[in-house]
């Protein structure tokens, strides 16, 4: 079990290493998947970019909190 957890942690650190980025990106993709499947697929593209930008901004603000 410990080995599996260590492996998953290594994969997480290798790919992204930040929970906000992972959760925000996942949330963005799920949201856009739902939007694109509906009638409003034309609006999905700017929303995807906006959600990802917001995710990056949140991650940066958390990282620099108290150091700015």
């Amino acid at each position: 079990m410990n080995t599996i957890l260590r492996f998953l942690k290594a994969v997480f650190n290798f790919v992204v290493g930040d929970w906000i980025l992972l959760l925000g990106t996942t949330l963005g993709f799920v949201l856009i998947g739902l939007l694109a499947a509906s009638q409003a697929s034309w609006i999905a593209s700017p929303i995807l970019v906006a959600v990802l930008l917001l995710t990056l901004a949140l991650s940066l603000f958390r990282e620099t909190k108290g150091r700015r």
Binding site: V15, D18, A37, A44, L48, L52, L53, L60, T64, R68
Partner: protein, 251 residues
């Protein structure tokens, strides 16, 4: 006739090859060429194995699922790079000073007589591998689609695929020559700036491919890559500007 498949395959393949080349070039320049080219080579080998194993059944592979996976991982890679680049440009240190760690490792490698730029890098390999594999798959789809679209007999299909492959081959040759031509000028760009560009490129392509995989209709198709890139670049510079002054007023 089947000859008509050469030009559209050539043009469509150029777009895909340029996208793959962009990633291979930025990984090669910022990380190292060994990892980047090994990743590209492994992707080409994997692609050839898939094509040989599947034959015409290749067209049954759900490309959208593959695009979604590659797009998602590239966005994660890209955001990670972009975040570090923004912190560097804003003059703020990351929690883990990876630059210092890298310099220490590089110094240790130099002491052992190993040039750091030739050490295999998993991140560079994976990024290059995924991008080349995805774009290569798209080129195979293009070749098979254009090559067989106007053919009605098996003979015509074979001829059509051969001519479409010729179009794709010419596109690859042109893009590789272009890559060699811009390789030197690219090395003159400062490393931190290049890393910023890598973050922007990975995030841009990841957003585009991920969106395509989800069924998003990008206005202007591949041309929207420029709009996405501009959005990411503008937002990143805004974030750098926002983070910078606060630090300066404190010090």
């Amino acid at each position: 006739m089947t000859w008509s498949s050469i030009l559209p395959t050539f043009l469509a393949s150029i777009v895909e090859f340029v996208e793959a080349l962009t990633i291979v070039m930025v990984v090669g320049t910022t990380i190292n060429w060994k990892s980047s080219l090994l990743g590209a080579g492994a992707a080409i080998t994997a692609l050839a194995a898939i094509v040989v194993a599947l034959g015409s059944a290749f067209l049954l592979i759900p490309l959208s699922v593959f695009r979604l996976f590659v797009g998602f991982v590239l966005v994660l890679f890209g955001l990670k790079w972009l975040k570090k680049a923004i912190l560097r440009f804003a003059g703020l240190k990351a929690l883990h000073d990876e630059e210092a760690i890298y310099e220490e490792e590089a110094a240790a490698l130099r002491q052992r007589g190993v040039p750091p730029k030739t050490v295999f890098d998993g991140f560079g390999f994976t990024t290059s591998f995924k991008s080349v594999l995805l774009e290569g798959m798209e080129v195979v789809f293009i070749v098979l689609t254009f090559g067989t679209s106007s053919a009605s007999t098996d003979l015509e299909k074979t001829a059509g695929i051969s001519l479409a492959s010729l179009g794709a081959g010419l596109a690859l040759l042109l893009v590789v020559v272009l890559g060699f031509a811009i390789r030197k000028p690219l090395t003159r760009v400062p490393e931190n700036t290049l890393k910023f560009i890598v973050g922007l490129m990975l995030t841009t392509f990841g957003t585009f491919w991920g969106g395509e995989g989800l069924g998003v209709e990008w206005p202007g198709a591949d041309l929207s890559l420029f709009a996405i890139l501009l959005s990411w670049a503008a937002a990143s510079w805004a974030l750098v500007a926002f983070l910078k002054p606060k630090k300066e007023t404190q010090t």
